[in-house]
């Protein structure tokens, strides 16, 4: 009789434990999304260090202004040849490019998410700003005693370059520590290492290094002079402002 009771318990436990696990993973990912998108607005200087397999380094600098998840304005300051070029990202995948030498802004439609973001190792998909929980189905794969959470993210859309992402997340604050990107055939293609810091009430990625494994090519993005919640106006994120601010 005891065995029968145990089997019934085991059956119901499996039924219940599965959804709990999924719910936990979902919550964890939502927590991370919440942490990333917590500031109302953000301004920072962005240094992009692009290193090829021979060790040759190229640097770019830009001033970043961001409001909410989807409004981003990058105004490039270095290299000097490209100083003044600005990109304005708006909701619904709308991007405007401004080139001061032509004195005009033009709308760019990025049709491919797998395309590199401005020659870096980040793809448009990586930089999209869309919350991870909206794009991926998570499964918790770490054990209870592991120092960090580990989640396997599988894309909801079939239009993803990645077949899965293994996300390592800080247990206390839910910020990402490491992401391993896999493509079809479970082939590791990229690794991102995050260095999160806390400033005021917010955690932010002070430094992210993305390495493309096969090409031995890496990009490090370093943020400095980070300011949060300055009350950036919506007018900053307009086409007119692209020309005016220059």
């Amino acid at each position: 009789m005891k065995i029968k009771q145990f089997l019934v318990f085991l059956f119901f436990s499996t039924l219940i434990y599965g959804p709990i696990q999924a719910q936990n993973a979902e919550t964890l990912l939502q927590n991370m999304d919440f942490l990333i998108a917590a500031p109302k607005d953000k301004e920072a200087n962005v240094l992009m260090i692009i290193k090829d397999k021979n060790g040759t380094i190229k640097e770019r600098e830009a001033n970043l202004k961001q409001k909410g998840k989807y409004k981003k304005l990058y105004r490039y300051t270095k290299p000097e040849k490209q100083a003044g070029i600005a990109t304005l990202s708006l909701p619904n995948n709308v991007i405007w490019l401004y080139m001061p030498a032509f004195g005009k802004a033009i709308r760019i439609s990025l049709l491919s998410k797998s395309q590199a973001f401005n020659g870096t190792d980040f793809s448009q998909e990586d930089m999209s700003g869309i919350p991870y929980s909206e794009r991926y189905n998570p499964v918790l794969i770490s054990e209870k005693n592991d120092p960090n959470y580990q989640l396997a993210l599988s894309p909801k859309s079939k239009k993803s370059k990645y077949s899965k992402i293994i996300l390592t997340m800080d247990k206390t604050n839910y910020y990402p520590i490491k992401m391993e990107y896999y493509e079809k055939g479970d082939k590791l293609i990229k690794i991102a290492n995050y260095n999160y810091q806390k400033q005021g009430a917010y955690w932010f990625a002070k430094e992210v290094e993305m390495t493309t494994v096969l090409k031995k090519h890496a990009t490090t993005i370093v943020l400095s002079d980070v300011k949060f919640d300055q009350g950036l106006s919506d007018a900053i994120f307009t086409i007119e402002n692209l020309k005016l601010e220059n």
Binding site: Q82, S109, S114
Partner: protein
């Protein structure tokens, strides 16, 4: 003067030392052999002192053009869902191969185009939603047709072929990756036909053919020569010793190559078979003479006596052969031909040294006297059915023999001028080789395979330089031989058009610098400009394999460059068509140069050793006749002069001269002794003639094995050498004796 008796005595006295040294040398070089590498890349063999070749190499290294491979997918219609899926499958497969830096195909190529509201940047085909309907395919077709960037690079105009282009990283192992490409794409088992082309694939194909030739032809040549030797000597010693010497010589010469870090090329691939054929010859002469002495003179010190007889002819024969090979060093265009000359000469030297030191030592140590007692008798087949009738003919009708040769030479001279030349690498492959089909598709549907590069030095973001690039492209594309061209200027022009909706090229450098923003980090950029943006290239392809078209195109382009190259915008042009022109010209120069050098030194050397310039000139006559016959045959049959057949004349000269040397030295000794021209000729033909015939049959049989080679020029090489051997043998056994009779008749005791 060399004391032959003393030398022979010393050789036999130090037989054990010689054997030990040879064994140690063989162990050393055999161990080195493991390091020997194959390099079938013709570009790497181009000389650095040639401007076109140097620039081509530089472009190959700096812009990665040597590492570009192409897969051609051929079907009845590219615009079908399954075909697009298969192209994507191949693209993904190649992208996953470690060592491939980029892959570009219909399913992943970036498409920048203007739209009503701005620019659309994306892929030509949505990688996640491949076109399926007729409407989607129509849209794709129009996108390709309307974009000049895709002309001749993605889909053929007849829509039956598509290209998947991949780049191999500089430090990667090209052969391994090319093989992986073939293996992985073949296992996909897609129904469309796949062809592989581009430098990495060609180099890999040729390397494979070389390996196949080495592993299959060498044992066959070995066997054929063994059978000929067995039939000739009817003794195991007569078979084993010549082959052993040849094998040791091969090991030593290839081992030396490996030791010096020189790679095996598609020309030096011949070295083992050539040394096998030549290397056995000297031993044949030693054994033949030992047998002869044993049979006639019943000496107790047979080997020593035989050595005294053969030392000079063997050394002389080897030296002349070495001269034939060394002559390639002068006037040869390709480094691989120089390497071939040096190491075949070295192999010949080894074979000579081994046959005069090692062979007598072995014969003496193993006391092979009894085993060779079945030496061929004088009434052998060769003597009765070949040498005797020949001697009768020469002795009775020397003038008729001479006349026959004069007619034959005249006939050959007539055809000599119709010899064709070819430097087309495609001629290396048999007509049914897939590479030939790939080449044909590329020429017919994608504007050719022979790369042309126009090199620009200047600021690659300067409007003036970029405009000059566009002008050069336009001028170049007016030539019927150029289908399309691609450069950074065209890319900038296209982006500018999409950005401004105007075909007016940007006037300000700042505008170009900012348009560059859209290209930064693009994988295609390093193919067109260097990192510092001080050098750039226009990449194009040349259609015709015809040399005349290449020369005309070179003149056409050089005229433009002379008028347009400035200090701020320096222009140069290179590419395989340009290298081909120089290579083609070098074929003639190299041929004339190497023959002239070889003939000159042979006459001087033979004259000096035989102490008579007349003897030197006489020795050269049969071989000069052979060379004329050889070229006449090539002109008559349409066999072209190429990087392999250009070697034949000098190789034939080097080997063929030996026959004349043996006859003339024998004749001299006999004539001096008896002062009877007829008796001297008879003795020369009967004694030396026999060894010559055995040698010709074995050497020719060895070379004829090359007819089964997978590389066409090597087939002709084998055939032509065999033909030259027979011809120089006949020259030495008929033309030379006839001349000797006619020239020495008056001084002879016996004038009839």
């Amino acid at each position: 003067m060399l004391n032959l008796t003393k030398l022979s005595k010393n050789i036999l006295a130090k037989k054990w030392l010689i054997i030990v040294l040879v064994c140690l040398g063989t162990l050393f070089f055999g161990n080195e052999l493991k390091k020997l590498q194959i390099d079938a890349d013709i570009v790497r063999s181009l000389p650095d002192d040639d401007v076109d070749a140097r620039l081509l190499k530089k472009i190959g290294e700096n812009f990665g053009s040597n590492n570009m491979g192409v897969i051609i997918l051929e079907t009845d219609n590219i615009y079908q869902p399954s075909v697009i899926e298969h192209i994507q499958l191949i693209t993904d497969t190649l992208s996953g191969i470690s060592g491939i830096s980029s892959v570009s195909s219909l399913t992943n190529i970036i498409n920048i185009k203007g739209s009503d509201y701005g620019i659309e940047i994306g892929k030509l085909v949505d990688e996640y939603e491949l076109p399926k309907t007729a409407l989607e395919f129509e849209k794709l077709r129009n996108n390709i047709l309307n974009n000049p960037m895709y002309k001749g690079s993605i889909v053929s105009e007849d829509e039956t072929a598509s290209l998947i282009v991949f780049n191999i990283e500089n430090e990667a192992n090209v052969n391994l990756i090319a093989k992986e490409v073939i293996e992985k794409t073949t296992t996909l088992q897609i129904p469309e036909k796949l062809y592989y082309i581009g430098s990495p694939m060609l180099v890999t194909y040729i390397s494979d053919l070389m390996r196949k030739d080495l592993t299959t032809l060498l044992p066959i040549a070995f066997l054929v020569i063994a059978i000929v030797l067995l039939l000739s000597f009817r003794s195991l010693t007569g078979v084993i010793l010549p082959l052993l010497i040849a094998v040791i010589s091969i090991v030593w010469s290839l081992g030396s190559m490996a030791f010096l870090g020189i790679k095996m090329s598609m020309i030096s691939n011949n070295i083992p078979i050539i040394i096998l054929a030549i290397g056995s010859a000297y031993t044949i002469h030693v054994i033949n003479r030992v047998n002869k002495v044993r049979l006639e003179e019943q000496h107790s010190d047979t080997i020593k006596t035989a050595l005294v007889y053969v030392l000079i002819p063997i050394i002389l024969a080897a030296l002349t052969t070495i001269i034939g090979f060394i002559s390639f060093i002068f006037g040869s265009y390709l480094d691989m031909i120089v390497d071939f000359g040096i190491f075949t000469a070295l192999g010949t030297l080894f074979a000579c040294l081994l046959s005069i030191f090692f062979v007598p030592a072995i014969l003496s140590v193993f006391n092979l006297k009894n085993k060779t007692s079945k030496a061929p008798k004088d009434d052998s087949f060769i003597t009765n059915y070949l040498l005797n009738p020949l001697h009768q003919l020469i002795a009775n009708k020397p003038k008729a023999v001479l006349l026959f040769w004069i007619v034959l030479i005249g006939f050959s001279v007539f055809h000599l001028f119709s010899i064709k030349r070819s430097v087309d690498i495609q001629e290396y492959f048999k007509s049914d080789n897939p590479t030939r089909f790939a080449e044909q598709i590329m020429v017919e549907k994608f504007g050719g395979t022979k790369p042309i590069f126009v090199y620009f030095k200047g600021n690659m973001q300067s409007p003036a330089v970029l405009k000059k690039m566009l002008e050069t492209s336009a001028y170049m594309e007016e030539s019927p031989e150029v289908y399309t061209s691609m450069s950074i200027a065209k890319l900038i022009d296209e982006i500018n058009y999409n950005f401004t909706n105007s075909r007016t090229f940007p006037q300000e450098i700042e505008q170009i610098e900012q348009l560059w923003f859209l290209l930064d980090g693009n994988e295609v950029l390093p193919r067109f400009v260097n990192e510092e943006l001080t050098e750039g290239i226009i990449i194009s392809k040349f259609k015709s394999p015809d040399n005349k078209s290449k020369i005309e195109f070179a003149k056409y382009m050089n005229r433009f460059i002379a008028e347009n190259s400035t200090e701020e915008c320096q222009i140069q042009i290179t590419g395989m068509p340009f290298v081909d022109i120089t290579m083609d010209q070098s074929l003639i120069n190299s041929q004339i140069g190497s023959i002239a050098i070889a003939v000159f030194f042979v006459i001087v050397l033979v004259g000096a050793i035989l102490r008579s310039l007349k003897s030197g000139i006489f020795a050269a006559i049969p071989i000069i006749a052979t060379i004329i016959l050889l070229f006449g045959f090539m002109g008559l049959t349409g066999i072209s002069l190429n990087i392999a057949t250009v070697l034949v004349a000098s190789v034939a000269l080097g080997i063929g001269i030996d026959y004349a040397i043996h006859i003339i030295s024998h004749f001299k000794a006999s004539f001096k002794k008896n002062n009877d021209v007829y008796a001297a000729v008879q003795e020369s033909i009967f004694v030396s003639g026999k060894a010559i015939i055995i040698n010709v049959v074995s050497v020719s049989a060895g070379f004829l094995v090359l007819v089964f080679s997978d590389m066409v020029p090597l087939q002709y090489f084998g055939l032509l050498i065999a033909l030259s051997m027979v011809s120089s043998c006949l020259g030495a056994l008929t033309l030379l004796p006839s001349l000797l009779i006619l020239m020495n008749k008056k001084n002879s005791q016996n004038e009839n």
